[in-house]
């Protein structure tokens, strides 16, 4: 049986059997994979502290090529992101991010750009005081990685430049000019400020993401527009998003 060496982020883990865990990783070389970590719930296991959610690791695992679940041989932490767990809001946001990835990416479909984005986002969430903006940037970039990059330059119906934007079509994923506007529930209002934020989110260098801010008063509109765009692609309700929204309403 071959041994595989790669770098990976822990997306989620669930208990299995007496003392084992099944870990879902997003790896650098093989995309999403599932591995069993034998005995990892025991305190004396060498794997126990390393396999916490969001941890970035170097892993060695083995198994037959066409297997669904591999077995972890060893792992070393590259970065633990343990501060995320010290705050419930940060934990909720990161849980939503990993649930999005787990839902939208099938196994063994590598995407190095996504891994790089994920690491930058975790790092920012650990440090930033404005975690909501970081999440919005992730959602915009994630849509783009999935192939649904918001079309913000010309009208998605007539292909003509738009001088005064009024609507965004969630299904077509782009702006609509006043001549093509139809009054359906998939065409929502969008402000010039929100469009500028989304444009900047798409182009900003990952290392500069912390400098971007959502203009005051536009938070709710941008949140709902991005979530609706993602929901249409996901086709199901995410548990972590429901909780995120209930926290939001509890705190506001």
């Amino acid at each position: 049986m071959p041994l595989y060496h790669t770098a990976a982020v822990v997306l989620r883990r669930r208990n299995f059997g007496e003392a084992d865990r099944i870990i879902t990783f997003f790896t650098h070389d093989f995309g999403k994979i599932k591995c069993i970590a034998k005995g990892s719930r025991r305190f004396k296991s060498k794997l126990s502290g390393n396999l916490e959610p969001f941890t970035f690791l170097r892993i060695i695992y083995f198994g037959k090529e066409n297997q669904n679940i591999y077995q972890i041989n060893s792992c070393d932490i590259i970065r633990s992101f343990h501060k995320i767990g010290e705050d419930y809001k940060r934990l909720s946001i990161c849980s939503y991010i990993v649930e999005l990835i787990d839902t939208m990416f099938k196994e063994k479909d590598p995407n190095r750009e996504l891994l790089g984005l994920l690491l930058s986002i975790f790092s920012l969430i650990e440090e930033s005081s404005d975690v909501d903006t970081v999440l919005r940037i992730f959602e915009v970039r994630f849509l783009s990685l999935l192939g649904y990059k918001p079309a913000l330059d010309v009208c998605v119906r007539c292909n003509r430049p738009v001088d005064r934007v009024i609507r965004f079509n969630l299904i077509k994923g782009g702006i609509i000019c006043k001549n093509c506007f139809r009054n359906t529930r998939h065409e929502i209002e969008i402000s010039r400020g929100a469009l500028n934020f989304i444009k900047k989110s798409l182009t900003i260098d990952l290392s500069m993401m912390g400098r971007l801010k959502i203009p005051k008063g536009l938070e709710k509109g941008i949140r709902e527009m991005l979530h609706s765009s993602l929901s249409i692609r996901i086709g199901k309700r995410l548990k972590s998003y429901e909780l995120l929204i209930s926290n939001h309403s509890r705190n506001s």
Binding site: L47, G49, E52, G85, D87, Y96, E242, L243, S246
Partner: protein, 198 residues
């Protein structure tokens, strides 16, 4: 494999138990088959009794024969200390040490957004009520030392600090009989952070 109908029914039920596969279930079934009728009746009665008599303690949420449970009903325990745990089996593990003499509060889970478990799904309101009513001076948070356990500990700590109560978290570090060389990085780092003067 051919088994008489009643034996395969028994195997079918035993295989539902955690950690029991088909082979183990067969071994257990044949052990019961070979045992005396009296022994088999004792096992069946024990299973029925546990389902009939065990209830949830209305004070600490743990499982017990009576309500309030033996610990909540014991006036000799330390009334000023409350230990917050995730599940009833954590209580039995702590009681086995014999080193803690206060009361307990079982949350019945841990904050886990990925599994859809939020603050409203845990017994946090009950905890706040107990702290306000029972004159608790110290709350020891003994949730598991992992990301969800830590997040729950921080959430509860932020919530109850305004109640002017001392909030502590159980220590973390190296297990007895372990070897530094094989400790994982996070545990080793935490053991340095939580070092004690001797």
């Amino acid at each position: 494999m051919y088994h008489p109908k009643s034996v395969s029914t028994l195997i079918g039920e035993l295989v539902k138990l955690p950690g029991v596969g088909q082979k183990t279930a067969e071994r257990l079934a044949f052990f019961i088959l070979k045992a005396s009728k009296n022994e088999a009746e004792k096992l069946a009665r024990a299973i029925l009794d546990v389902k009939g008599t065990i209830r949830q303690c209305s004070i600490c949420n743990s499982i017990a024969d009576s309500d309030p449970c033996e610990i909540c009903g014991n006036p000799k325990r330390d009334k000023t200390t409350l230990c917050v745990i995730e599940e009833p089996h954590d209580l039995f593990a702590i009681e086995k040490t014999g080193g803690y003499r206060g009361y307990y509060h079982v949350l019945m889970g841990v904050l886990s957004p990925l599994d859809g478990v939020g603050p409203d799904d845990l017994s946090i309101d009950g905890l706040v009520n107990r702290i306000e009513k029972d004159g608790i001076k110290e709350v020891i948070i003994a949730t598991n030392p992992n990301m969800e356990g830590d997040a729950t500990a921080m959430y509860i700590s932020n919530l109850i600090k305004p109640l002017e109560v001392k909030v502590t978290r159980i220590a973390r570090g190296l297990p007895m009989g372990g070897d530094l060389e094989y400790a994982d990085e996070v545990t080793l780092m935490k053991s340095f952070e939580g070092r004690m003067e001797i």
